[in-house]
Symmetry: C2
Subunit: 259 residues, 2 copies
């Protein structure tokens, strides 16, 4: 029998709200199973960029990362956000370690090739160092991973946090029963976005496709959910999408199902 592993990706809306941030981390620290937290921090990076006179550029929700942008992204993700998370988790007696994909070669990536768009210093994941994650788990350390990777040749790369969460979940599914939870600002998949009561408690691939056609699932939610179904096919046992309460309560969010 495999051990359970809970992987949680926390969104920018929670990171950027002091009250939710603390509630979320207190709940996270109470998870008894082995756990991993994954975060980005685009809102906070964009705020600092604006203050530094560097205009944030996004195409379809993906950041164009030139050299100056990359520096602010590294500072925000691996510095400010990651260390603030760790300091709060330590307060709640969670033995946590802040990581980027650069540390111990955790996430090796390839700089995205220029096609129609030059995304700049953006990396597509090639390999996760799962041996290192397992070494930490054996030491009862909770990894808190920010969304940066590297090319192995001295270049840090900006990498989508959802994709990192999904790739780590898939790769660790060989050894663990993995539950992956995406914590967002919304309650999950709503069929009417103005009515929280329209929450779909479960969704399968067919239903998802219909909701995309009906323009109910749109924008950034499309690649997020698409990725989730791929991850499930590749062995991730459970995937949930919901708000910050998802850690404690799996009933008021959306559970993805194969059938």
């Amino acid at each position: 029998m495999k051990n359970n592993l809970i992987i949680i990706k926390v969104g920018g809306g929670i990171l950027n709200d002091n009250r939710l941030f603390k509630i979320f981390l207190e709940n996270f620290s109470k998870i008894k199973e082995t756990k991993i937290l994954i975060h980005g921090g685009g809102i906070i990076a964009s705020n600092y960029m604006t203050r530094l006179g560097i205009p944030p550029k996004l195409i379809n929700g993906r950041r164009i990362t030139d050299e100056k942008t990359l520096d602010v992204v590294i500072m925000s993700y691996a510095g400010l956000i990651n260390k603030k998370i760790i300091s709060v988790l330590q307060k709640f007696k969670c033995k946590s370690l802040g990581l980027s994909g650069v540390d111990c070669n955790l996430i090796r990536a390839k700089r995205r090739e220029v096609k129609e768009i030059d995304f700049g210093f953006v990396g597509d994941i090639q390999e996760i160092n799962t041996d290192f994650i397992e070494e930490l788990i054996k030491l009862n350390i909770t990894p808190v991973i920010c969304s940066l990777s590297h090319d192995g040749n001295g270049q840090i790369l900006n990498t989508n946090a959802d994709t990192i969460a999904s790739k780590i979940a898939v790769d660790l599914s060989k050894k663990y029963d993995v539950t992956l939870k995406y914590c967002l600002e919304t309650d999950g998949v709503l069929t009417d976005k103005y009515n929280p009561k329209s929450l779909k408690k479960t969704i399968n691939f067919k239903e998802y496709k219909v909701l995309v056609k009906q323009n109910i699932i749109t924008d950034g939610m499309i690649p997020k959910i698409e990725n989730c179904f791929i991850a499930m096919k590749k062995g991730v046992k459970n995937i949930f999408i919901g708000n910050h309460n998802i850690i404690k309560n799996e009933n008021d969010c959306t559970k993805l199902t194969i059938e």
Copy 2:
């Protein structure tokens, strides 16, 4: 017999010079013994503070760290500088892990009491988690530690990197034969600061006191060297002060001696 451990504190002048930065890290990666790197990054933090419209405040070389300053310090030390170091070390195949004193409770500190000066969010070290450092060493991981600590209650604190280096060196001396090297912009202790040939190859406490009286050792070098002599009394085996070549060559720098 104890194993050797090399602890290197690298100064801002090297971190801030692209060419020296790479030479330094390449040499560091070639050290065969167990090793730890410790850094701050005051110059880079001050640059970002100026760009963000936060005036840097320093008294006797020590930074007054208000809330906004602390955020920039965290971003610069644990984010930009730490991760850039790691990405270069990974290139040189050094299995390195970037840490702050917050991670796994590595450095617990107490916020400095307000006496004549309110230093703000500045921490005086209470305890180093040497167990965690040893766990990493057993995994052949090279820790790269930036100069932040925490109070265990959710507050990150700015802490002097020289002091961290010296405290870690002392605490690990119980289990290792520790050599501590301070890499600065200067070649070591010079009796005539305009003449590199006046380098003192060794210095004992008496000679140090005389040079302070003669105003030859001044400013920030006084607490640095004072701390070194204390560290030697507490068990650190060798201490060297010199430029970036100190890693490869222990002859062209200043070695502190007990007698």
